[in-house]
């Protein structure tokens, strides 16, 4: 993993905790914000956050999707009772956002702050260095008005000290220019120190001598967890993308993945599909999936997955069982054979025969079911002891009476895919 989105709630809480430490002058953001889900104790919430009872409030879902206003999902300038009612009506409900259906599970509430101008600021990390974007016209239309956005490049080695932010900002900021420049310099230092990959405040407002972030999108580089976890806070989370509801099988593989040092992945694409790629290795698994799609069989691809990082025999067995179980639940509606492709490149040091032991154990358990769905197996793998692994696999499938073809590194890695698809067409 690497760049991962965080909730607006966590982004703003972090900002309130740390931003002033990076600024020459206090920005004055108080971090009044709460996150509610279906289990929230509203009485405790009100007790812990007295401003909820006194301020007019803003509420919106906090689930990593944008354009909430356009979807009618922002409530403005209401008291706590009305806000709670509005949230209760939506909590746990299905919602289509940007073409993806998901369930609303988290909302944030913050005070509604009266303000004048709305500005846009974003910081993006790129290979050439970070870039700061600023616009006087913040809000939902900033993308349409991109020509009005000022871009400030920050050199990798020199950092923000080498940049004259104030000079780069538009003159039209007038009396606010110095304050905004100081805020942006601090925000950049905060961005770098906390290993953000992306941070957008659109818009932020100036209320008196305070800067108030109204809407925020942020991504952290999660590999920095080891040096930033204290700054990020104990409650930091990296929610799944909106609408990404995992099936029990996907959940199971995630659990197995989390439990071991090896890597196991499974994303269901079409459980009714006839092509089942069980591929070793991250790079190879992508290429096997590509080849199925490039040869015109994308619709038949049942799932994307991979197993790698020297998984134990028992872990491979568990993974194979999940795949075989999904594959053999019911025969193809058009009576076409189902194809299991056991693919992979040439392993570095993983004992291929050993990994195949786990797969063979699962195949033996699903032998009858495999025959019922008219399964065929195509194998291609190289690496330590591959000959023995291939021979064992072939013997096991022959004994079960499941058609199988096995190949070693002398056979082009993805040729089994074209073989499988060709014979599939023929039948």
């Amino acid at each position: 993993m690497a760049q991962r989105g965080i909730r607006e709630y966590h982004g703003k809480r972090m900002l309130a905790r740390h931003l002033d430490g990076f600024c020459e002058e206090s920005v004055g953001y108080d971090g009044h914000i709460v996150l509610v889900d279906k289990d929230t104790d509203w009485n405790k919430l009100k007790k812990d956050n007295p401003w909820l009872k006194t301020d007019k409030l803003v509420a919106k879902p906090d689930q990593l999707f944008g354009k909430r206003g356009k979807h009618g999902l922002v409530l403005v300038n209401k008291d706590i009772a009305e806000t709670k009612k509005w949230i209760d009506e939506r909590m746990g409900k299905k919602q289509v956002v940007n073409g993806i259906e998901g369930t609303l599970t988290h909302f944030l509430i913050e005070p509604c702050i009266p303000h004048e101008a709305e500005y846009y600021v974003a910081i993006k990390s790129t290979a050439e260095g970070d870039a700061i974007y600023f616009s006087l016209e913040g809000g939902i239309n900033v993308e349409e008005n991109w020509d009005k956005v000022v871009a400030i490049k920050v050199p990798i080695l020199g950092g923000i000290e080498d940049v004259n932010v104030e000079k780069a900002l538009p003159a039209a900021l007038g009396k606010n220019k110095k304050m905004v420049a100081s805020f942006i310099r601090g925000l950049y230092k905060y961005f770098a120190a906390l290993h953000f990959a992306y941070l957008e405040i659109n818009p932020f407002a100036i209320a008196g001598n305070k800067i108030v972030p109204l809407d925020m999108v942020a991504k952290l580089d999660d590999t920095a967890e080891f040096c930033c976890n204290k700054l990020w806070g104990e409650d930091i989370e990296f929610p799944a993308a909106f609408g990404q509801n995992l099936s029990p099988e996907e959940m199971k593989i995630r659990e197995l993945d989390a439990l071991s040092g090896a890597s196991l992945k499974l994303t269901l694409l079409n459980p009714e599909g006839t092509i089942w790629n069980m591929v070793a290795g991250g790079g190879a698994s992508v290429i096997y999936a590509d080849t199925v799609c490039d040869l015109g069989f994308a619709k038949e691809l049942a799932f994307y997955g991979e197993y790698s990082g020297n998984p134990s025999t028992s872990l491979t067995y568990e993974y194979a069982k999940v795949v075989l179980d999904l594959m053999t639940r019911k025969p193809d509606a058009k009576k076409r054979p189902k194809t299991l492709i056991l693919g992979g490149g040439i392993a570095n040091f993983t004992d291929v025969a050993k990994t195949f032991t786990g797969i063979i154990k699962a195949l033996n358990e699903y032998g009858e079911k495999l025959k019922k769905v008219n399964a065929r197996i195509f194998v291609r793998r190289g690496g330590p002891n591959y000959q023995e692994g291939l021979a064992n696999l072939k013997a096991a499938a022959d004994k079960l009476g499941v058609p199988i073809e096995v190949h070693g590194p002398e056979y082009h890695m993805t040729r089994v895919v074209s073989d499988a698809l060709k014979t599939g067409k023929g039948k």
């Binding site: 993993m1 690497a2 760049q3 993806i100 990390s125 290979a127 260095g129 990798i156 080695l157 770098a192 290993h195 990959a197 580089d221 590999t223 920095a224 080891f226 040096c227 993308a241 990404q244 992945k265 994303t267 694409l269 290795g281 991250g282 790079g283 190879a284 698994s285 992508v286 290429i287 999936a289 590509d290 080849t291 199925v292 799609c293 490039d294 040869l295 994308a298 691809l301 994307y304 991979e306 790698s308 490149g345 040439i346 392993a347 570095n348 040091f349 190289g382 690496g383 330590p384 002891n385 590194p409 002398e410 082009h412 890695m413 993805t414 040729r415 895919v417 074209s418």
Partner: protein
């Protein structure tokens, strides 16, 4: 030494330092060197923070030492020819250690193996490297290889794979990819379809790599030995567009075969994470299709799918051979590397006679075994201490009566007060401030024929006499004539009228539970005769344990030979030894609890009787 041209990172004389104690990787590099007939190992030094020393590795059949230094600077001072650092530091310290390398003017190439380095750190390292004219390969990479010359760490897999992929001698192809796993496959494809690899690099799958695909392709372009380029790109990022630009502007003129993977991502749910952190298209320009199309348009050989990658490489190569650009590299027979013993064992290729045999316990299986009994059974079925002793001493689970006898003996022997030699020594040693082991050992060392060690001797003597059919009279007379004391007979104060309670308890138990007490009966007949001479010449506790142990073994139905072996071994003294150890540990703890001071024996308790002063 002649300076290598800028386009060449590694040749047959390149030497490196390995940061981190990666002896396996070092061995793999040296095996490769040996296969390539390098004259010197490619690893000159190891760096392990804070340590000086050396590591033993094989150079062919011979073992050699690779020195270990506490830091990069020291290693370079001792080995001024090193210009490559292979950094195995973890993601936590990879940044600092790579900086340590970048600060060394002599280092030119740094390979960063660690996965999971923060992007900001990786980007900063690259910027520093570029500024100082150095090359970083990685992070999150397996490294790279110059065929027949230099191999980075674990690149290329096993030595068999390396030879099968013809990496032990140079061919004409330069290859670069992000993925390390796929580079192995690519070397195989290149070996099957061309005269082989010249140099291959995996830049690593992170979003910000230390060096780019294009930079390596440009090095290959400049290298006259490389005749064609092969590259494997990936969805996400702008890298491949720079290659498009370089081909368009004729910076790359050599034939390039390339494929960008990740064409299936459009069929996947949004936000799916493919194998690599960098494999993620944020814009349509970053998709595999867009990049493949753009590459094809500028004249790069781009197949229809990865399935035709091999054919595209073959066709391009054969075209170059036909044109006379490539004169196919000759095949070279590599020297045979002896297989590691451990690997030969794993593959059932060798056998050797063992030096030791153990028949009582086994820790080499999933679960510990005592004489074939799983430890889970021993605990689950609540085996008694006596039964456990039976497993380890006699290799069988003793019946209840025998197991209980053993336990009674242990309990009776557990201690006999502080004054006996064993406890006394333990106490004196404990008070000298020595540890438990020393204190108990000094106590145990007093066990012998005069203290506690008569169990085995009594068993041996009485059994021999009874086996020979000697009458108790003859037995006593015989020993008297030889001037041998009867083992197991005699006590300091106890007598027939004032019996030793321990002996009484043993006799009672044996009479009630033993199938036979033949040797005990014989010993008691002897006792009748000896006590007639002096009333303290009773069967003492050692003697009782000794003869009853023999009766126990007969009662268990063992054959004569098995019983005699146990008796001859002296192992029956183990009953006293084991039991008394409990008491000695107790005395040690007792002294520690009291914080007892060093013991010094009083002068007035010693008779000083020296020769008179001269």
């Amino acid at each position: 030494m002649k300076k290598r041209p800028d386009y060449l990172l590694f040749d047959k004389n390149t030497t490196s330092l390995i940061y981190g104690m990666q002896t396996k990787a070092v061995q793999r590099m040296l095996d490769f060197d040996y296969c390539c007939r390098r004259t010197t190992p490619s690893v000159a030094a190891l760096v392990d923070p804070g340590k000086f020393g050396s590591e033993k590795v094989f150079w062919g059949k011979k073992e050699i030492f690779i020195p270990v230094y506490p830091d990069v600077k020291t290693a370079l001072k001792k080995h001024p020819d090193i210009d490559v650092m292979i950094n195995f530091a973890s993601f936590r310290s990879a940044y600092d250690t790579t900086m340590e390398g970048l600060n060394e003017p002599k280092l030119r190439t740094i390979v960063v193996i660690a996965e999971g380095m923060p992007e900001r750190q990786a980007r900063h390292l690259r910027a520093v490297a570029v500024e100082r004219g150095k090359v970083i390969i990685g992070p999150a990479t397996v490294g790279g290889i110059a065929a027949g010359a230099f191999k980075v760490a674990n690149t290329g897999g096993t030595i068999e794979s390396i030879i099968e992929s013809k990496l032990h001698r140079p061919g004409s192809v330069g290859f670069v990819s992000k993925s390390g796993g796929m580079s192995n496959e690519a070397y195989n494809i290149i070996a099957l379809n061309t005269d082989g690899l010249y140099e291959g690099i995996a830049i690593g799958g992170d979003a910000y790599a230390g060096s780019t695909l294009l930079e390596h392709l440009l090095r290959f372009e400049a290298n006259p030995a490389i005749k064609m380029l092969v590259c494997l790109g990936e969805v996400g990022g702008e890298e491949e567009w720079k290659i498009v630009e370089a081909v368009k502007t004729k910076k790359i003129k050599k034939p390039l075969v390339m494929w960008v993977t990740g064409t299936s991502i459009k069929y996947m749910p949004k936000g799916i994470q493919f194998g690599h952190a960098g494999a993620k298209a944020d814009a349509s320009r970053e998709t595999a299709e867009a990049k493949n199309a753009a590459l094809r348009e500028v004249g790069v050989v781009v197949p229809e799918s990865f399935d035709d990658y091999d054919k595209a490489i073959k066709a391009t190569y054969e075209g170059l051979v036909k044109k006379g650009v490539i004169k196919p590299a000759p095949e070279v027979e590599p020297p045979v590397i002896p297989m590691d013993y451990a690997e030969a064992v794993a593959r059932n290729m060798v056998r050797k006679p063992t030096n030791f045999t153990c028949t009582i316990s086994d820790d080499s299986k999933d679960e510990l075994l005592y004489a074939g009994h799983k430890i889970s059974k021993v605990i689950g079925e609540n085996y008694s201490v006596g039964e456990t002793i039976g497993l380890l001493w006699f290799k069988e689970r003793l019946p209840k009566w025998a197991a209980e006898f053993m336990e009674i003996v242990l309990k009776l022997c557990a201690d006999h007060g502080p004054a006996v030699s064993g406890a006394h020594n333990t106490i004196v040693t404990a008070r000298a401030g020595k540890d438990l082991m020393s204190a108990v050992a000094s106590g145990i060392l007093t066990i012998g024929p005069r203290f506690g060690g008569a169990v085995a001797g009594a068993a041996l003597m009485f059994k021999a006499a009874q086996d020979a059919g000697q009458s108790p009279d003859a037995f006593i007379a015989d020993l008297k004539k030889k001037n041998i004391k009867i083992q197991g007979i005699g006590h300091r104060i106890k007598s027939l009228k004032n019996p030793d309670m321990r002996v009484e308890l043993l006799k009672q138990y044996a009479r009630k539970h033993f199938p036979r007490t033949k040797l005990l009966d014989y010993a008691l007949e002897v006792e009748q005769l000896t006590t007639a001479k002096k009333d303290t010449l009773i069967l003492n506790v050692d003697g009782a344990i000794g003869v009853l142990s023999v009766d126990m073994m007969y009662g268990l139905g063992w054959d004569e030979e098995r019983i005699q072996t146990v008796v001859n071994s002296g192992g029956l003294n183990g009953l006293f030894l084991l039991g008394r150890t409990i008491g000695m540990i107790g005395h040690y703890m007792d002294q520690c609890r009291q914080k007892a001071e060093l013991y010094r024996h009083p002068w007035d308790d010693i008779l000083y009787d020296l020769p008179a002063d001269e």
